[in-house]
C-alpha cells in the first residue's frame, strides 16, 4: 500500500501528560510524525494538536483509532477538505538586498518582521507546498537560520 500524507487534528483535554501520550503513541507504534503543533483552544480547557503524518491507508486508520482510545482525547479529525498553513521565520545577513527579501516574503503572504544592526528577519505564512518553494527561493539570500512552525489546519 502506498503511503499517503495526512493532516490529523486531535482535540484533547488540557492535562500535563497529554502531549506525551500522543507523541508516545506515535513513537511506540512506529508511526511517523512530520510536524506537530499544539496550543490551547481559547476559552476552553482543551487544546488542539495538529499532526502531519505519512503512512499506508491501514496505518492512517490505526493512527486515528489508537488516538481515539487515549482517554483525554475528545475528537480526532482526519482532514480531507481543509485550509492548511505553515509559518516560517528566516534570518538573513544585513548585506543582502532588503527590498528583494521583502518582495519575496510578500509573495508568500508575509513580510519583514524585523531589521536589526546585522540581520534581517523575514516572516511568511503559506500552504505547505508553497512553503517548500519559499525555502528554495531563500537560498539565494544566504539565510543564516530558518525556523519552521508545524502545520495548522482547519476544516473547510
Amino acid at each position: 500500500m502506498a503511503d499517503v500524507r495526512r493532516v490529523i487534528s486531535i482535540l484533547v483535554e488540557n492535562e500535563s501528560s497529554v502531549l506525551s501520550r500522543v507523541s508516545g503513541l506515535f513513537a511506540g507504534r512506529g508511526y511517523n510524525i512530520e510536524t506537530l503543533t499544539v496550543a490551547p483552544i481559547p476559552d476552553t480547557n482543551r487544546s488542539r494538536i495538529t499532526i502531519v503524518t505519512k503512512g499506508s491507508k491501514r496505518v492512517i486508520e490505526q493512527i486515528t483509532k489508537q488516538l481515539h482510545k487515549l482517554i483525554p482525547v475528545y475528537k480526532v479529525v482526519e482532514h480531507d477538505e481543509m485550509v492548511e498553513k505553515e509559518m516560517i521565520l528566516a534570518k538573513f545577513p544585513i548585506e543582502e538586498n532588503l527590498s528583494d527579501i521583502q518582495a519575496l516574503c510578500q509573495a508568500y503572504n508575509g513580510g519583514i518582521a524585523n531589521v536589526g544592526a546585522d540581520m534581517i528577519i523575514g516572516m511568511v505564512t503559506d500552504e505547505p507546498c508553497r512553503i517548500k518553494h519559499f525555502l528554495e527561493a531563500t537560498k539565494r539570500y544566504n539565510p543564516i537560520e530558518v525556523v519552521r512552525g508545524g502545520v495548522v489546519a482547519i476544516e473547510r
Binding site: S20, R21, G24, Q62, Y74
Partner: protein
C-alpha cells in the same frame, strides 16, 4: 467527611467492593499502609515481590471478573510492578494499581526513590494518573475503577505523591463518572448487525473464532447458544479456552501455532469467520495472507482499533459481544438451519479423526500431557487452572478438559514467565473453595518462587505442578527445530531441590518420577491445606505439537505423528 488522602484510597477500595488487595509497602506509600492497618473493609496480602502483587491482583480479576487491586511504593516498588501492568495490559485485565510517589515538591529533582511512573507505565496501562491535588483524588479513584472495567478493560495506575496521602480534605466518593472524552461503544451498529446475520445465513462453512474478549464480556452462554442453534463449529484461541466447554462436539479445539489439526484446517477452509473478541494475534494467524483465505470476516470487538488492524474485515461491528450477540441470535432465530452446515461439520470431523490431538504415552517416563490429562480426570471442572509460560502452558491449554470460562488463567499476550504462581494465589483468594492448580515449568517457577512464603503465611493452598524437563523447554524446542540442536543457555540441569525449597518456606514438596507417585502426591496435596510443589520429572525432549512454524501458513503443521522423538 474529612480524612487524609490515604484513608480516601482505602474508602474507595471498600466502596468498589474489592475484598483482597495485594501489595508491598515502602516510604512513599506508608501513609496508605497506616490507614490499611486501621481498617477492616478489605484484606491485604503481603506478597514477597511487587511483580507478584500485580499478578496476584490480576489472577483475582481473571477468576472473579472483578477489578483487581495492587499497591506498591515509589521507585523500585513501582518498577517491579511494571511487568505485572504490562501482562494485564496485553490481556485486557481490569486492575487498579496504586503507587506511592515522592512528595510533589520533590518531583523532578531526582529525589530518593523518585521515578517517572506515569511516563514508564504509559504504554502498558489503559490509562494512568499522577495526582496533583487532594481535591482530585476521589474523582480520580472513581474514574480509575470505571476505566479499568468498562469498554475494553485494562490496568489503570494511580500514582499518588506522599504529601497528598497525608493531607486532609473533604471526602465524598462520586457515585457516577463523567468523562466526556471516554464513551465506549457497546451496542453495535444495527445495519452492520443485520448484514452479519445475512452473511451467516448465506455462508456454507461458517466458523466461530472465539478470543479472550468473549471471556471478558461473559458471553460464553450466548456463544454456546449461537453455536448450538446453528450447528456452527467453533475454534478457541489460547485466551478463550473454556468458553465453549470441551465436551461440546462443535468445538474443534484451540487454533494457532499449537492448535490442533481440525481447528487450523477449519480456519483455512471456512468461508465466514465470525470473530468474537479475538484480535488476530500473530501466534494465532500464522502467515496472514493465508489466514482464512477463503472467508469473509465478521469482526465483533469492543475496541474499534482491533478491527481491520491486521485483516480486512467485511462486517465490522464495534460493541460488547454480549449485547451484539443477543441481537444476532434474535436475527437468526427461526431462520438458521443446522442441517445447512452438516457437510462442513462432516469435513471437520474427518479432519479430527485423521489427526486427533494425541501424544505418545510411555511407561518408562512420565509424559507431560499425561499429567495434564490425569489432573483433568481427577479434578476436571472442580479446579481453576493457571499456568506459567512455556511448553507446559501449551500442553495445559491443549489437554486440560476446560469446562467454563475463567477456569483457565494464563499470560497469553505478554507471555510472562513467573505469572502462574502469584496468579494462582489471586484466583484462590477469589474462590477459596476451589482447588487451584498452577501448571508450571522448572524455569518459570523460579521467577516468583518467593511466593511460597506468601502462600504459607496467609494459608493460600495452591498446588504447583512443575512439569520438570530440566530445560527452558519451549526455547529448547525452537533450538531443536530451527537452530540445529544448539542448546544455547537452555539446559537447566542445575536445579534447586524443589521439595526442600517448598518445605523451607512452609509448604509441602513431592518428587515424582512415576504415574503412581504422581497420583499419590496429587491426592495428598488436595487433602493438605498447604501450598505444594509437585516436582514431576518428565521426558526431557518432549515437544509441543502440532506446531506451525512462526510465519508459516496455518495449514502447514508439523504433526505429532510426523516428528521423530529424540
Amino acid at each position: 467527611m474529612k480524612m487524609n488522602g490515604a484513608r480516601m484510597v482505602c474508602e474507595a477500595i471498600i466502596a468498589e467492593g474489592t475484598k483482597t488487595v495485594f501489595g508491598y509497602p515502602g516510604g512513599a506509600i506508608m501513609n496508605v499502609y497506616d490507614e490499611i492497618y486501621k481498617q477492616d473493609g478489605f484484606e491485604h496480602i503481603l506478597n514477597r515481590h511487587e511483580q507478584a502483587s500485580v499478578h496476584a491482583a490480576d489472577g483475582y480479576a481473571r477468576a472473579t471478573g472483578e477489578v483487581g487491586v495492587a499497591m506498591v511504593t515509589s521507585g523500585p516498588g513501582f518498577t517491579n510492578a511494571v511487568t505485572g501492568l504490562a501482562t494485564a495490559y496485553m490481556d485486557s485485565i481490569p486492575l487498579v494499581v496504586i503507587s506511592g510517589q515522592v512528595p510533589l515538591s520533590l518531583i523532578g529533582t531526582d529525589g530518593f526513590q523518585e521515578i517517572d511512573a506515569v511516563g514508564i507505565s504509559r504504554p502498558c496501562t489503559k490509562h494512568n494518573y499522577l495526582v496533583r491535588e487532594l481535591s482530585e483524588l476521589p474523582r480520580i479513584l472513581k474514574e480509575a475503577f470505571h476505566i479499568a472495567r468498562s469498554g475494553r478493560p485494562g490496568p489503570v495506575l494511580v500514582d499518588i505523591p506522599k504529601d497528598i496521602t497525608a493531607e486532609i480534605g473533604e471526602f465524598v466518593y462520586p457515585n457516577s463518572v463523567n468523562i466526556p472524552s471516554y464513551k465506549p461503544t457497546t451496542k453495535g451498529n444495527k445495519r452492520q448487525i443485520d448484514k452479519a446475520v445475512e452473511a451467516i445465513l448465506k455462508a456454507k462453512k461458517p466458523l466461530l473464532y472465539i478470543g479472550g474478549g468473549a471471556v471478558l464480556s461473559n458471553a460464553s452462554d450466548l456463544i454456546r447458544k449461537l453455536a448450538l442453534m446453528g450447528g456452527i463449529p467453533a475454534v478457541e484461541t489460547l485466551m478463550a479456552r473454556g468458553v465453549m466447554g470441551d465436551s461440546n462436539p462443535l468445538l474443534q479445539g484451540m487454533l494457532g501455532m499449537h492448535g490442533n489439526y481440525s481447528s487450523n484446517m477449519a480456519m483455512s477452509e471456512t468461508d465466514l469467520v465470525i470473530s468474537l473478541g479475538a484480535r488476530f494475534d500473530d501466534r494465532v494467524t500464522g502467515k496472514l495472507s493465508e489466514f482464512a483465505k477463503y472467508a469473509d470476516v465478521i469482526h465483533i470487538d469492543i475496541d474499534p482499533a482491533n478491527i481491520s488492524k491486521l485483516v480486512d474485515v467485511d462486517y465490522p461491528i464495534v460493541g460488547d459481544i454480549t449485547i451484539v450477540l443477543e441481537k444476532i441470535i434474535a436475527g437468526l432465530e427461526d431462520k438458521i438451519k443446522p442441517e445447512r452446515y452438516s457437510d462442513w461439520r462432516d469435513v471437520l470431523n474427518r479432519y479430527n479423526e485423521l489427526h486427533p490431538l494425541t501424544f505418545q504415552d510411555s511407561d518408562d517416563v512420565i509424559k507431560p500431557q499425561w499429567v495434564v490429562e490425569r489432573v483433568g480426570e481427577l479434578l476436571g471442572e472442580k479446579a481453576i487452572v493457571t499456568s506459567d509460560v512455556g511448553q507446559h502452558q501449551m500442553w495445559t491449554a491443549q489437554h486440560y478438559p476446560f469446562d467454563r470460562p475463567r477456569q483457565w488463567i494464563n499470560s497469553g499476550g505478554l507471555g510472562t514467565m513467573g505469572f502462574g504462581f502469584p496468579a494462582a494465589l489471586g484466583a484462590k483468594k477469589g474462590y477459596p473453595e476451589k482447588t487451584v492448580i498452577n501448571f508450571t515449568g522448572d524455569g518459570s517457577i523460579l521467577m516468583n518462587m518467593q511466593e511460597l512464603v506468601t502462600a504459607s503465611e496467609y494459608k493460600i493452598p495452591v498446588i504447583n505442578i512443575i512439569l520438570n524437563n530440566h530445560f527452558l523447554g519451549m526455547v529448547r524446542q525452537w533450538q531443536s527445530f530451527f537452530y540445529d540442536n544448539r542448546f544455547a543457555e537452555t539446559d537447566l540441569s542445575y536445579q534447586p531441590n524443589f521439595k526442600a525449597l517448598a518445605e523451607s518456606c512452609g509448604g509441602i514438596g513431592y518428587d515424582v518420577t512415576t504415574k503412581e507417585e504422581f497420583d499419590k502426591a496429587l491426592k495428598d496435596a488436595i487433602e493438605k491445606d498447604r501450598v505444594t510443589f509437585i516436582n514431576v520429572a518428565i521426558n526431557r525432549f518432549e515437544n509441543v505439537l502440532p506446531m506451525v512454524p512462526a510465519g508459516g501458513a496455518l495449514y502447514n503443521m508439523i504433526l505429532a505423528d510426523q516428528k521423530e522423538e529424540k
